[in-house]
Symmetry: C2
Subunit: 196 residues, 2 copies
């Protein structure tokens, strides 16, 4: 096989969930049927790596210093909702039940995978939550074991600093991941959120 094709197959394996067979298929497909797509993906990757970094306030991906959501004057700055990923934030936005701001952990505590408090930016969260304006932190991590442990850890940490902390109500099925739950269930859980 040609060197460029081997390099491409190897690079495609860096994508999560892509094994050697799939990577080879993708490489062949792009070169045989979609060179325009390959070129587009090459440029998109380059551009994203160059331009995208973390919001100074909420830690989500953005091309500005502060993301559009954090910059939105219409938002209730007294509420701060903590989510694991940008995808989870999008799900909550779609429920139209929440008008506060967010903090995106970009992960969850997972001691078995070596993911500790530093990896999910908890110092940045503490600083953010202690801006003197935030009056309630709503924990919306997933209702998995790791998400619950993360919520518990953050709750203890913030309550020790005198902040009011709530958790989405258990309308979300136990073991469920927000990204795969319907908006109605999340809306109900948001309305029913409880202090922790």
């Amino acid at each position: 096989m040609s060197k460029s094709l081997e390099f491409l197959t190897e690079a495609l394996r860096r994508l999560p969930g892509i094994g050697p067979k799939s990577a080879q298929r993708m490489a062949f497909h792009l070169l045989q049927h979609d060179r325009e797509g390959a070129d587009m993906l090459s440029r998109a990757l380059h551009q994203a790596v160059e331009a995208v970094h973390h919001c100074a306030l909420c830690n989500t991906f953005t091309e500005e210093d502060v993301c559009d959501t954090c910059d939105d004057e219409q938002r209730d700055r007294r509420l701060l909702c903590v989510v694991e990923t940008p995808a989870d934030q999008l799900m909550i936005e779609q429920t139209l039940t929440y008008k506060g701001l967010y903090f995106v952990l970009m992960g969850r505590l997972s001691p078995l995978d070596g993911i500790g408090p530093k990896d999910i930016h908890l110092e940045k969260l503490v600083a953010r939550a202690n801006d003197g304006v935030v009056s309630e932190v709503v924990l919306a991590t997933n209702f998995t074991n790791e998400g619950e442990a993360t919520a518990h850890y953050i709750s203890e940490m913030l309550k020790a600093r005198g902040l009011k902390v709530s958790r989405l109500a258990r309308g979300v099925p136990v073991g469920g991941e927000l990204e795969y739950v319907d908006a109605g269930t999340i809306a109900r859980a948001m309305l029913d959120r409880r202090s922790t």
Copy 2:
């Protein structure tokens, strides 16, 4: 979501078998955990699109005019094995039972998908098989309905031009795809190949 991130997610959907959720997950993963991988993939795609084209003789992917296999003086130039894809060629190489040359169709006849003789380069195959040196064409298309129909079509076409044509023996399970068959079965089928 940031423009660059949206563009990246959209571009990842061009990969075969990747839906919107997977594309989003991949984009987040690359930006959060593997920017080096994203950069590597960007360069690999660019390089492959620039450098890779089809071998003048066998039609497979190569960076030269003629690929290493076609260029190999040790090969028996009287035998020409027709396969659907480079992956199928690799599988046959692994059996170590075949020392001739190849022709890679880069597809199979599929009227329902609008894939006709031109799309699988049959004119190039006819020219290649009629070089005056090739004395037997071994058809190693898949044993699926489309692969069998392709073999039949090519067989009729080449026999009408006075060429000897054989087909891998039906040691390969009916309905099976070469890429997923063990090397031993393919080796047996190669040894048992029959005239058509």
